[in-house]
Symmetry: C2
Subunit: 311 residues, 2 copies
Amino acid sequence: MTPFETIQSAVQSLNWDKTPQGLYEPIDYALSSGGKRLRPALVIMASDMFGGNREKALPAALALEIFHNFTLLHDDVMDHAATRRGRPTVHKQFGTNAAILSGDQMLIEAYAQLEAIETDKLPQVIHWFSQMATQICEGQQLDVDFEQKTDVTIDDYLYMIRLKTSVLLANALRTGAYLANATTQQQNLLYEFGINIGIAFQLQDDLLDVYGNPDTFGKKIGGDIMEGKKTFLYLTAQAQNNNLLEKALKEKDKIHAVTQVYNQLDVRQTTEKEIVNFTNKALQCLDNIQVSDNLKQPLRDIAFKLTKRND
Amino acid sequence: MTPFETIQSAVQSLNWDKTPQGLYEPIDYALSSGGKRLRPALVIMASDMFGGNREKALPAALALEIFHNFTLLHDDVMDHAATRRGRPTVHKQFGTNAAILSGDQMLIEAYAQLEAIETDKLPQVIHWFSQMATQICEGQQLDVDFEQKTDVTIDDYLYMIRLKTSVLLANALRTGAYLANATTQQQNLLYEFGINIGIAFQLQDDLLDVYGNPDTFGKKIGGDIMEGKKTFLYLTAQAQNNNLLEKALKEKDKIHAVTQVYNQLDVRQTTEKEIVNFTNKALQCLDNIQVSDNLKQPLRDIAFKLTKRND
């Protein structure tokens, strides 16, 4: 089985047919909506890389998948998002209170999954898990703070997406490696690999919002521009010519005007360069891990796939 | 130091002066608003009872206090409650999104506290903690479900408050005893003690809503009646004479009319009898624990105090 198949089958075998139904049905809905299952698959891939037992890696993988979906659920409440993965969001489907309470229960379920980890490895895995969860909440808060701030730097932004997006991927990989008895150095290299592909992934997402293929992107092109979101593209343009960007943001056809500014300032090329830069950093980490090349291939594939999707 | 002083000083020494401030300030606000600190004090009391080291009990005590305040924070969002402990609720003070996200972070912080527990005891304490947290979410969901249901029985109600209120007290006691190396039987007896005082406590709360002293009750008398809340009093009256209750609920002065029905049906006496009943069950559990009487006194005092407050 591929790591994705292992995960998919494990997620499907979770039992949410419990009472009170009002608590568990939204969880079932959230977890059955598909999604890439990327994070739990990374746990398995990292474990595979060091010859680990998939059964031993599964609890951590499920915990991270449930946790990830918990964050989506509460984020959607906070953002008043109406759809996710082509379906109504949980709060649209079941109400805001259900989304809050079932989200809380998902966070508890994520921790409960970790109980199945071997006792001698449990303290470390739980410590990393809580640390990661805290960083993700901090990243979410910074993202909110940035909406009001006018002096966000590119470094601020990279720090924020490191917390909001990267640490989950990084921790998935580190935990998988740890459970498969990799060395501390190997764990750390995979962690850094995860940090860097996470950043590359987010910059790619920022890029696709403007330059993506409308047929395959999944979201409306220019959504970030409409919301005035401080993406990597926005901040790159702002750093180069704030006046020009400000003026474009006041235009009636904001998406067109801002895209023109991006074109004029070569923002696309700058962003693409940074994506390559972070992807290369990630691949460098992978290169430095002393295991045979074929064992690294699944993660190498992920690095390329993640940063070139929907092009 | 009394258990309450130990807890108070530990809660005050938690550091929330961290960034991003938007995430941690609401947590500081929620935890500095006082409250009885009953739950963490129960951990210490149970530990004291078996000669345990308070330092070793503190992480679990703090985890339960932070967890309890997390539930209040999210419950207040779901109930649209405006005030708590004489101050604006977190969502009124900082906004709904801050209350959701900071609440999530509190749940994570609660788990993070548990990391300080001795490694060999960590798996059991975490297992109990997640089990308890799940039961409390289930209890909250049942409470919501009961608002719509017309056929709630007294047993349904007792089951709901067992989950929503009792298991937190029970788990605090059991965990404190476990950390102080009490026997399994002693842990279980304290757990049952907690279950029973929790139910007695909730019935007392239901009673005070109608028959409390307006000067000392803290809330408006008759609030539950106005909301049509299915309390022990309501369900007792309904079981005896549903028509009479239904008619009273349609009266203009609902609080007066329903109170009259309660008086007519001796609902006050029935409730008081049940409070004594559950308190006696709790004290019976305490009696069955083989430690010297003076070591049981703090918990005996709690049992009397909890169920006779504000009379």
